[in-house]
C-alpha cells in the first residue's frame, strides 16, 4: 500500500495524480510534497529538478498505458479483434479517468517550444503507439497492397488520437464509439 512505499514512489504516485488532474505547471513541488508526505530534501535527492519528476512520471505512464492496452488486446485472437479492442480499452480508460484525455498530449500543450526532455517522452510514446496500431492493421490487411495498409494504418491511428482529444473536449464517449465504428468499416 501507499504506507509502505518509499519517498520516491510516493512522489511519483502523487505527482501522477496531480499532474493529470491539475496540469503540470499548475502543480507545485510543495503540493506534491505535502500530499505525498515527503520532505523537500528527499525529493531533490531522488530527482534533480521538477522536470525530472515530469520525465519519470511520463515513463511510468507509458508503461501503465501499454500494460492496460495489452490486457485488453491479448484476450482477443485475431488482429482485427485486437484492433477493435484498442478502442474498447480507450473507452474504458477515458471514462475511468473522467475524460481528462491523454497525459502526454496534455503536458505537451503546457510546454513552450524548448523543453526537450519531456517532449521527447511524448514523441516516443506516440511513435510506439502508432507502430502498435499499425502492426495490427498490417496483420489484419496482410492480403492488401502496401500503400493501402500504410494509409489505413495512419487513418486508424489518427482516429484513435482524435477520439482521445475529442472525448476530453466533449466529456463524452461518442468520439470513441464513432471512431471504432468507422474503423470496423475500414477493415472490411
Amino acid at each position: 500500500m501507499r504506507q509502505n512505499l518509499g519517498p520516491r514512489d510516493r512522489i511519483l504516485e502523487t505527482a501522477a495524480r496531480l499532474f493529470y488532474k491539475q496540469g503540470y505547471n499548475s502543480t507545485g513541488i510543495n503540493q506534491i510534497l505535502e500530499e505525498a508526505k515527503v520532505a523537500k530534501a528527499s525529493l531533490y535527492q531522488h530527482f534533480k529538478s521538477k522536470e525530472d519528476v515530469g520525465v519519470e512520471y511520463l515513463k511510468l505512464a507509458r508503461i501503465e498505458w501499454f500494460a492496460g492496452l495489452e490486457q485488453w488486446t491479448s484476450k482477443k485472437s485475431t488482429p482485427a479483434q485486437k484492433l477493435i479492442a484498442c478502442f474498447d480499452f480507450l473507452e474504458y480508460a477515458l471514462t475511468h479517468n473522467e475524460f481528462r484525455g491523454c497525459k502526454f498530449i496534455n503536458i505537451l500543450a503546457e510546454l513552450a517550444d524548448a523543453e526537450t526532455r519531456i517532449q521527447r517522452q511524448v514523441v516516443e510514446h506516440k511513435e510506439k503507439l502508432r507502430d502498435h496500431i499499425k502492426g495490427f492493421v498490417r496483420q489484419t490487411l496482410s492480403h492488401q497492397g502496401a500503400e493501402k495498409i500504410e494509409s489505413i494504418g495512419d487513418a486508424v491511428y489518427l482516429l484513435f488520437e482524435g477520439a482521445i482529444v475529442e472525448s476530453k473536449i466533449f466529456r463524452d464517449t461518442w468520439p470513441t464509439k464513432a471512431a471504432r465504428k468507422i474503423v470496423r468499416t475500414l477493415l472490411e
Copy 2:
C-alpha cells in the same frame, strides 16, 4: 498598424501571440503588459481578470479561424472539394504556426477541471467546427443513408482533429496529408 491600436487591442494581440507560443499559464500578465506597452491599470479597466483576457482571446481566435477556413473553402465549387480544402487550409495553417497545434485544445489541456468560462469557449468552437465539416459531408453524400452520413461525418471530423494534434506532436505535415488521403476514399 499596431501603433494605432488602443490598449485593449494591443493586449489581445500580444496575449494571442504569447498564449499560443508559451502557453496560458506560463504567460504572466506582466509580460503581456510589457510587450504590449500597456499600463496595468488599463488592463484591469478593460478586463476583469486574466481569465477574461483568455476568454476574449479565444473569441477572437474563433473568428479568425473560421475566416481562414471560409477563405479556403469558398473558392471551391463542390462540397467534396470544400471538404478537401479544409485539410488544405489545415496544412497551411499548421505549417505557418510552426506546428503549435490548436489554440483551443492547448488551453484546455492547461486547465484544471473547474475553469468553466474558457472551457465553454472550447466546446462551442469545436461544436461549430464539427457542424461545419458534417455539413459538407452531408452535401457530398446526400444520396446516401442518414446513418452512413452521420458516421462518415464524425470520422472526417475526428481525422481532422487527429491531424491537428499529431502534427503538433511530430512537428510534421504527414498527419494532415494522411487524413486528407483517407477522407478522399471515404467520400467515394
